[in-house]
Assembly symmetry: C2
Homo-oligomer: 491 residues x 2
């Protein structure tokens, strides 16, 4: 291989990190915990954004932009929010540098101290609800269905590229409604949008469910989430949608006159996904050869590598390839023709495997003679020689096939790695030796949940929306339970 | 009118501010100098972004993302950069809040002080060139053609919505090249991309030229810019493209092995436009009735208002309108049908004039009988009744016509407001009574430039690329000059 990756089986965590860096997705920066998203990684993120943004707009949402900075005092206004959340933040205290009077360089100007410190947003509920107060007077002003694409900062101590970084990119939806029911419906609608995106675009099966009270967003009455399973058997929370009740409207005094002219507090939801999805995408599908990208997110879906010895051969190949490219583009398929002379075909094959390009075409002199082309698919690493006639239709079908195959493979993996467990010994045994999701009864108390976490590090990933009502006893406490929840180790 | 605007003639500055707020483009936030970009304003910005991003990609650029924070020490590395630039910045000194031990709320945790302060990026040359050092070893790694869409912060003391805010959104391109010539060509290429965008999308004529040394970007060897004229006769710098020479590659020690294996410093350009363009857009075209938006940037290009007394009439109108909407959408024209009952047609007319919707259609019972529709264009405020057959073609042509008319109107205005001046008295007289661009000879010295600025507040907006070589004498000093430059008061 062109660039050596640690194998998954040897060291999963190192494999992940190697892959993110060597496939040119992202790298660490000079600033602790902040990453640089490299062009190839950013191109995937742009595709995610476009797909999500389209879904948001289709469901009636509009984009807006709110300030990066939040006055410190805003964080004290919603008690649960500050308690559960807002501590590890970047704090701006000054607004000017000056030349160092004692030497070279610059120092912070002590005279330029802010009266009130500003916090770099870790999430924007507070500043947005402060703003909504001026936007909402009457029921006619509702609902407000805003989304924001933005950067946020949470001062994480241990960071990992995409999965946990001090600064990350995300979208945050913040909606305001006249009734509780409407806000709850919105919360469900958006978690379903996320699930649709995860499954149909990322080819990543997810479980939709409620977070337990312990795992809920600070300030929410209910947090819905999508949970995905990574190839090392750990779960990853890939998106959340919160029903906030009237907590923020009360904290920021946002009331509206209802149709009877009476003042009521507004009902709220918020929901978000982040560049963490990039980490999920990598860990859901990739292998020891590199990335495996679903065609819907690949920066280019097809790469064409010419095999030639002479300039003349390259010219003849290029002539054929140009026709193929035109046909593929006409079908909306993105293609790169790598005719560069600097690297050999073998190096290119390895490089595009590493980069996860779904389909690779190779054309050599013999293909010209025979009217054939070699087609290799990244997900299965299989090759076949096909006739060049009708190649565009063939590739279009193949890309659809790959998109589905990747999803099915991940679904099979999850099914295999989801274990129904009824005893505590079995719980520990499965967690230790098999991993994955454990479907078990739980007595519904935070106490039990925390004891399980203390003993095993496993957390309740969610109470699935489709959990069946059934009589049971808690796997840990033996107390009664009426449905199974999903436990797992997690990112 | 629905919402009262101050008139342009009465108080231009107040007119601008009223319009930005009342047309729902943006508003001030709880954080000094930071704005909230409201959904209607953000929708225009999104269209600007899409048009620009398309042009960047067409010219071979890719997007990436670099950290929000920059270590303080980076600013000392490029001497001219820190001298000219980096002083008024938001400085992060701490990374944690804690509960106030003496009461409610939160305070900054004094134990969580950063070893080195972090600066919220005012621009990203330093962090990006620090990153490029790891990306560039050989001539094969060049060129690097990256762009970043991001927020930046400059602690401005006097702020105005869009025109000058502490936080603003922008894009910044940062390119690395093997040769001086290639970097210079890139600098010109991108200022031409900006000019194309300004003229063909924003319908705003611009002059392309060089900045004088005084007005150059801190760290640049040459700054190219596009300058537009606002309706109050002041100029606005709408975009800049900098040739940075080897200043940043030397400051951050970025060298590459050339084809002969010798190490050379890399050549650089950077270029950017920001949400300031939103301010330019407002001031270039709008009037006392509100915004005038070019069709290419209007969130919706056509609004349809039904005129009805009964539910039955509305139903009949809706049936007709649905057909029209389908036809318009098939042509890629965006339409809003405002059938809401909450407001009267007159209110709606004024509202959509305020919002600058290029074309308004009104349909009443008589139109149904006659097979007609009333078409009003926002730019000229003229109305006509046209046959409903072929309305889609009519509207498509009309939108093209409006796009061109708005541009031509602005161009005529600029032509009228550009005065060739040869004496200092005339210079002052024109500046005082007429405003606009003054085309005058200048001796090329910073001294003269600064004296003119001191006496009149006028600055050299640019030395136009198409300035004609001619013998002349400086309008201020009487010294020899070989070309005219453009002076103006400016934003």
């Amino acid at each position: 291989m062109a660039k050596e990756l640690t194998s998954m089986s040897e060291n999963y965590s190192q494999w992940y990190n190697d892959l993110v860096v060597k496939a040119d997705l992202a790298e660490n920066s000079a600033v602790r915990g902040c990453m640089v998203i490299k062009p190839y990684g950013y191109a995937i993120w742009e595709k995610m954004q476009a797909e999500l943004d389209h879904r948001f707009k289709e469901t009636g949402h509009v984009n807006a932009y709110f300030p990066l900075f939040i006055p410190k005092s805003f964080f004290s206004k919603e008690a649960a929010h500050v308690e559960g959340f807002a501590k590890e933040c970047a704090v701006v205290t000054h607004y000017r540098l000056k030349n160092d009077p004692n030497g070279k360089g610059v120092v912070v100007d002590p005279d330029a101290k802010l009266e009130e410190e500003l916090i770099v947003r870790p999430t924007s509920e507070t500043i947005i609800w402060h703003t909504y107060k001026n936007w909402i007077q009457s029921w006619r002003d509702l609902p407000i269905l805003c989304n924001q694409w933005a950067n946020v900062v949470r001062w994480e101590m241990r960071t990992r590229l995409f999965l946990r970084t001090a600064e990350f990119l995300w979208q945050e939806g913040h909606t305001a409604h006249a009734t509780q029911q409407e806000a709850i419906e919105e919360t469900y609608k958006m978690v379903n949008v996320y699930a649709d995106f995860a499954e149909n675009v990322m080819a990543m099966p997810v479980v939709i469910g409620h977070k337990s009270e312990n795992e809920r967003f600070a300030g929410a009455l209910d947090t819905l989430c999508i949970e995905a399973l990574m190839q090392d058997g750990k779960a990853l929370q890939a998106g959340t949608s919160h029903f906030l009740g009237q907590n923020f409207s009360k904290a920021f005094d946002v009331q509206f006159a209802n149709k009877e002219g009476k003042l009521e507090h507004v009902w709220a939801s918020s929901w978000g996904v982040s560049t963490r999805l990039m980490g999920a995408l990598v860990m859901a599908h990739s292998d020891d050869h590199g990335l495996v990208l679903p065609p819907k997110l690949a920066p280019f879906q097809v790469v064409i590598v010419p095999i030639y010895r002479s300039e003349e051969q390259l010219n003849a190949i290029t002539e054929k390839v140009d026709v193929i490219i035109e046909k593929l583009k006409a079908r909306g398929i993105s293609v790169k023709f790598d005719f560069s002379d600097a690297k050999k075909p073998g190096w290119k094959f390895a490089e595009y495997e590493l980069k996860g390009v779904p389909v690779r075409l190779a054309v050599g002199p013999r293909d010209l003679e025979n009217g054939t082309i070699e087609v290799a698919r990244r997900d299965t690493l299989t090759k076949e020689v096909v006739n060049v006639d009708g190649i565009d239709q063939y590739i279009e079908d193949l890309l659809e096939n790959i998109q589905k195959s990747i999803y099915n493979k991940a679904l099979d993996f999850r099914t295999e790695k989801t274990t129904v467990v009824d005893t505590w010994d079995e719980f520990k045994e499965v967690l230790k030796n098999k991993g994955g999701f454990i479907s078990a009864h739980w007595d519904g108390t935070s106490e039990t949940e925390l004891q399980i976490k203390d003993e095993t590090k496993a957390t309740i990933r969610c109470v699935p929306l489709d959990a069946i009502e059934e009589e049971g006893t808690c796997v840990y406490s033996g107390k009664p339970s009426n449905k199974r929840v999903l436990f797992a180790l997690s990112y």
